[in-house]
């Protein structure tokens, strides 16, 4: 039970590349925990997050999320699994710019078959908990400020009550004040829902907010090798 994510002997090479971008012998994240993955871009973190999120499959090794081996699922099942259990938050462009906030979040909810009436109540509660005015729901995503957009991204990520939130540098486009506000809201949301979180950033100031810190370079043997190569 205990693990939300368990990676074993993971290896991934981009098609056409001669070296693997990712080699992860072992990684686990237990239930109800938050991990801070420290790493710069180019460390293979995006690939790692896509593999954990079931957007890609590794060449070798196993990926278990919520005790489900993602490779055993069909493409369609993996998509449904992701919609139900994983919420993504990215650095920016989290929302379809020309859709209003309501529709942006509704897209996620509709993929798990949530009823519109249920959705309507839920989205209003979530908006309130993220200090977003209900009126913002009818605004186009690109009319919101960067901070509002990132908070709306949290709302989109948690609408289906996922067990795992994957946040890929969600604060790097925000100024300091907005960033702190964002982190506070994200973590309190997480606490309420009991979801686990993988938070990727190179911003060491944020480390104290998390249960556990992990350098991607320690995790990814492929990245270590290339660092050594560089040295």
């Amino acid at each position: 039970m205990g693990n939300v994510v368990a990676l074993n002997d993971l290896c991934f090479t981009w098609p056409g590349a001669d070296k693997p971008v990712l080699t992860v012998p072992q990684f686990t994240l237990s239930n109800d925990r938050s991990v801070f993955l420290l790493g710069a871009s180019g460390s293979g973190k995006s690939t790692l997050l896509k593999i954990i999120g079931g957007l890609m499959l590794p060449d070798t090794g196993t990926v278990e999320v919520l005790n489900t081996n993602l490779a055993r699922l069909s493409n369609r099942q993996r998509d449904t699994f992701r919609a139900q259990n994983i919420g993504f938050i990215f650095q920016q462009f989290n929302l379809i710019p020309y859709l209003d906030i309501y529709t942006n979040i509704l897209v996620s909810a509709s993929l798990t078959g949530m009823k519109t009436s249920v959705f309507r109540n839920k989205v209003e509660d979530i908006m309130a908990s993220l200090s977003l005015a209900p009126a913002l729901l009818s605004r186009r995503a690109d009319q919101l400020s960067a901070g509002q957009q990132q908070r709306a991204a949290i709302a989109r990520a948690i609408i289906n009550d996922p067990s795992l939130i994957i946040a890929d540098e969600p604060t790097s486009a925000l100024d300091e004040e907005t960033r702190d506000n964002f982190i506070r809201l994200l973590l309190s949301t997480r606490e309420r829902s009991g979801a686990s979180i993988i938070f990727v950033s190179h911003d060491r100031q944020l480390i104290p907010h998390f249960d556990h810190v992990q350098r991607i370079a320690d995790l990814n043997k492929a990245a270590q090798r290339s660092e050594h190569d560089a040295v």
Binding site: K50, L55, R82, Q84, F90, F93, I96, T103
Partner: protein
């Protein structure tokens, strides 16, 4: 539904290029559906114009030409046939009835048909429907006129109103037969054929209007005479009744002889008529009679079988139609290809959008369907606007076509055939859109996903 909603909003976001694509599809649908619509309508309109007439007799010309000007009032009659020939054919014992037709004059743009009461008794259209009167009735006197439904509607005539004729056909004629007035004795029920656009007068009345019988109440002054004379040449070219013109000039020139209206009663028979419609006792005799007419020794005549002439006409037109149809289909394909190109080139800027959809759990198959939904929406809008444009244009062009070409076209382009046509376009669009859709599908697969 969610997908259509997303597709619709995505299209709105790219509204300019989407609009332009819709315009190209609209135009090509308009052309293709227009060609098909006009062809169908023209054919059924032509086919229903004349019914029950076994033979059309006119001067030596082609069957098609004779039918076009005598029945559809398209083009101008060349010569006429002599009244003696008409009488001779009438006396043939195979002939059940014969309607004389004399063309070449007009009234405010509507063609004038000189004939007799046999016309209203025997002329048939559609599925052997006879002419009927909305009000009034057949010619009761020489200067009576029976007008078609469109004439009555357009000019606001009622029975008892009077009208005068103009020489030649066309809205502006320099020579007016103002001297003779006709009284509307009847208004025909609408038929959807050139009959609606005709002013029917008696042959004798037409003769008197041309001045063959002295009917002038007033002397024609010199100025009028000069005016008429100046245009004599032009009239001679396009008019069958050369002698009539001369006769009139003689009358006008003398400018005397104040005759009474009653002298019309002595009206002579016309020396010439333009054509005659013949009905036979036994249709089997039609070929023998046609041959007899074609070999008539004292005058070169043509006997045209309406069905054969129509078939010849459609055969002739078929080539042109097919070329037009091929062109319009090619235009349509190129506009649908343009649609695919537009969608394909938008994929690059939409990579991130596709990535987001995938990240929240949308299956790759839905990404493919999303692009397809956009293509179908654009095409459907193009088809709708194309049909709407066709509706507007046919509504606007209806009167022109019926007046100039005797073609009666319904403005409603929606029928089983056009709906099938629309469906085919949608399917072709969806197939062509598979190119951008599959491209989007591929880019939504794991190894292609980029943030």
């Amino acid at each position: 539904m969610m997908l259509f909603n997303l597709a619709w909003k995505s299209l709105l976001e790219r509204r300019v290029s989407v609009f332009l694509t819709i315009v190209t599809i609209c135009i090509s649908v308009f052309i293709a559906a227009g060609v098909a619509h006009v062809r169908n309508q023209a054919q059924s309109s032509f086919d229903r114009t004349i019914s029950g007439v076994d033979l059309i007799i006119g001067p030596r010309t082609s069957q098609i030409n004779l039918m076009l000007y005598s029945v559809f009032r398209i083009g101008y009659p060349g010569n006429g046939i002599s009244w003696e020939s008409f009488e001779l054919i009438k006396s043939d014992n195979r002939v059940a009835w014969i309607i004389p037709v004399s063309l070449g004059d007009s009234h405010q743009g509507f063609r004038v048909v000189g004939t007799n009461n046999d016309y209203f008794e025997h002329y048939q259209f559609g599925q052997r429907q006879s002419l009927a009167f909305d009000s009034g009735g057949v010619f009761a006197s020489v200067h009576d006129a029976v007008i078609g439904a469109d004439v009555a509607r357009e000019l606001g005539y009622q029975t008892g109103d009077t009208l005068t004729l103009s020489h030649g056909v066309g809205t502006t004629s320099f020579q007016n037969h103002d001297n003779v007035q006709f009284t509307v004795s009847g208004i025909l029920t609408a038929t959807g054929t050139p009959v609606d656009q005709a002013v029917h007068v008696t042959l004798q009345g037409l003769e008197s209007a041309h001045g063959n019988v002295a009917t002038h109440q007033h002397a024609v002054d010199e100025e009028d005479y000069e005016h008429e004379h100046g245009h004599e040449h032009e009239h001679d070219e396009d008019h069958a009744h050369e002698e009539d013109t001369h006769a009139k000039h003689l009358q006008s020139g003398s400018a005397a002889a104040p005759d009474t209206f009653s002298s019309v009663a002595n009206a002579v028979q016309p020396s010439q008529i333009t054509a005659a419609f013949v009905g036979l006792h036994n249709r089997a005799a039609v070929f023998a009679l046609q041959q007899a007419v074609n070999e008539y020794p004292s005058e070169p005549l043509t006997g045209a079988l309406p069905g054969v002439a129509l078939a010849e006409l459609w055969q002739m037109m078929g080539m042109v139609e097919n070329i037009l149809l091929v062109i319009s289909v090619l235009v349509l394909i190129s506009s649908l290809t343009g649609l695919s190109t537009m969608l394909l080139s938008s994929m690059r800027e939409r990579r991130h959008e596709i990535f987001l959809y995938r990240a929240v759990g949308m299956p790759s198959r839905s990404i493919l369907l999303l692009v397809e939904a956009e293509a179908v929406l654009i095409t459907a809008l193009g088809i709708l606007s194309g049909f709407a444009l066709l509706f507007l244009v046919t509504s606007a062009g209806q009167d022109f076509l019926s007046m100039r070409f005797g073609i009666f076209i319904s403005q409603n382009p929606i029928n089983q055939q056009s709906l099938f046509f629309a469906l085919v376009i949608l399917v072709v669009a969806a197939l062509l859109a598979l190119i951008p859709a599959i491209s989007a599908y591929r880019s939504s697969l794991g190894s292609q996903l980029t943030t």
